[in-house]
């Protein structure tokens, strides 16, 4: 099982490396978005706006990045993969890959925000933790939804419609947690509450991954 996951992950990275345009496209997307956001808010820059802009950007990156995972696979290719590996292995490989991709993208856009938009944080450590947790829960959520949407006819519309309502509650908690990281005690959130949110996110991630692992074999089989 672990061996299979490693091979599948290696395949994903190899594909990413071969088609650099996807990753570079995302990078360019992040950069241009950060520049546009910084220009739009010159002089009126406030911490809450910064946080909300950051998570909106993450949401769009997530949908763009994760959408590739199942939607871009050709019919024959996914049949081939599934004859070689168990569905759980395929799903876990996709999930880990999406998680890594989102963490990297999240960290990079955090740096872009910090340097280009000149944003200061009370606790960069908490903010990084929030980004990693966000990447975990969002990828757990989106991987399953893309797998479902890939089966249907109007994939792209469906992906947006199904994933937004499932992600918004997670975003609410993430925004709350980032407020703690960025504003510190001024946000009115104390460390105990922040830890509570962290456990809640971890719990949500675990539940969603577990449910997805059980359901995925039913989704991919024709």
């Amino acid at each position: 099982m672990l061996q299979t996951i490693r091979h599948l992950l290696y395949k994903e990275f190899l594909l990413e490396w071969k088609q650099k345009y996807a990753f570079n496209g995302l990078l360019l997307y992040v950069l241009s978005m950060v520049v546009v956001i910084s220009l739009a808010f010159i002089g009126k820059w406030q911490k809450p706006i910064w946080i909300i802009m950051y998570w909106l950007l993450m949401l769009f990156i997530a949908i763009n990045a994760v959408a590739k995972s199942f939607l871009n696979e050709r019919q024959g290719q996914h049949l081939y993969t599934y004859t070689l590996a168990s569905p759980q292995a395929v799903f876990l490989a996709k999930l880990i890959y999406n998680f890594l991709l989102l963490s990297v993208m999240g960290t990079l856009s955090l740096w872009a925000f910090a340097f280009l938009a000149g944003m200061d944080m009370v606790s960069p450590g908490w903010m990084s933790l929030t980004v990693i947790l966000g990447a975990l829960v969002i990828s757990a959520n989106l991987t399953m939804v893309t797998a479902i949407a890939a089966r249907a006819e109007n994939r792209n519309t469906l992906l947006a419609v199904l994933s937004f309502p499932l992600i918004v509650p997670v975003l609410l908690i993430l925004i709350d947690l980032s407020r703690f990281a960025v504003e510190g005690r001024a946000s009115g959130i104390n460390t105990a509450t922040a830890y509570d949110q962290v456990y809640l996110l971890l719990g949500l991630g675990t539940i969603l991954t577990g449910v997805s692992l059980i359901l995925f074999p039913f989704v991919w089989r024709e």
């Binding site: 419609v161 499932l166 609410l172 709350d176 949500l204 969603l208």
Partner: protein, 252 residues
């Protein structure tokens, strides 16, 4: 009289009686005076059961979806086919979403008099406050709209049944944290664990519970009643379609 029909008539008449009781006593009962709620506390007998029925019906829908997925196991001999179970799952979700709309509307009316009473009725903020629980309830509504949209995007009914069942189970796994865990962790207006002392007082009060619990049971039975009628209609429609398709096939 057969046992099933006795049970059926029994729970339906119980539903009618309990709802009549709720309607009469919920509106006329003397309530302990609460400064922030006043008479609007009566909405508690209607608003809270609406959401409870939603949970019950989505739970039924979840169970039917699980049975849909289980029916693909070839070793099991089941009474119903997966498509019939799929009809039951979607009808439960449809009735559930009707109660979701009822819950949103009754919540808006309540919000009008407690949170937005200083605003004119033309102002949308008087009816809607973007309180976390309100927001999460609206998101729950969108999640199930997504379920119905997903169902329309399949041509093959077998595949639709399977994928929709998987989405339904996934949606339920997010519905529960969405309604019960996430809103309580965010600052808001709904009475939650910390702020709900007044609510707890009211709950303990005997005049309150004598209406609230019958209302709860009455609404749950009503929800089940509508669901039962709807899924039986759905099954009849499904068989009619099947016969029609068979006849068309034979003619060709």
């Amino acid at each position: 009289m057969k046992r099933e029909s006795a049970i059926s008539i029994g729970y339906k008449s119980l539903a009618v009686l309990l709802l009549l009781y709720t309607l009469i006593f919920g509106l006329t009962n003397e309530l302990p005076y609460q400064a922030i709620w006043e008479q609007s506390a009566r909405n508690f007998f209607f608003h809270v059961p609406n959401w409870t029925v939603l949970i019950v019906l989505m739970g039924i829908s979840l169970v039917q979806s699980l049975r849909v997925l289980r029916s693909y196991d070839p070793d099991l001999k089941l009474k119903r086919t997966s498509l019939e179970l799929d009809v039951m799952a979607v009808e439960a979700a449809k009735v559930g979403i009707m109660f979701c709309i009822a819950g949103l509307v009754s919540g808006m009316i309540w919000a009008r008099v407690t949170w937005g009473s200083n605003l004119p009725a033309s102002d949308f903020a008087a009816w809607w406050n973007w309180d976390p629980k309100q927001t999460c309830a609206l998101i729950a509504f969108f999640i199930y709209l997504g379920y119905f949209l997903l169902r329309t995007s399949f041509a093959d009914p077998e595949q639709r049944a399977k994928v929709a069942a998987a989405y339904n189970i996934f949606a339920f796994a997010t519905l529960i944290p969405l309604l019960f865990i996430i809103p309580d962790r965010l600052p808001g207006l709904h009475p939650t664990a910390e702020q709900g002392s007044q609510l707890v007082q009211l709950k303990v009060d005997a005049t309150f519970t004598t209406v609230f619990f019958p209302a709860m049971i009455g609404f749950i039975l009503l929800g089940y009643w509508i669901y039962e009628v709807r899924y039986r209609m759905g099954l009849v429609q499904y068989r009619l379609d099947e016969i029609e398709a068979e006849r068309a096939y034979n003619e060709v």
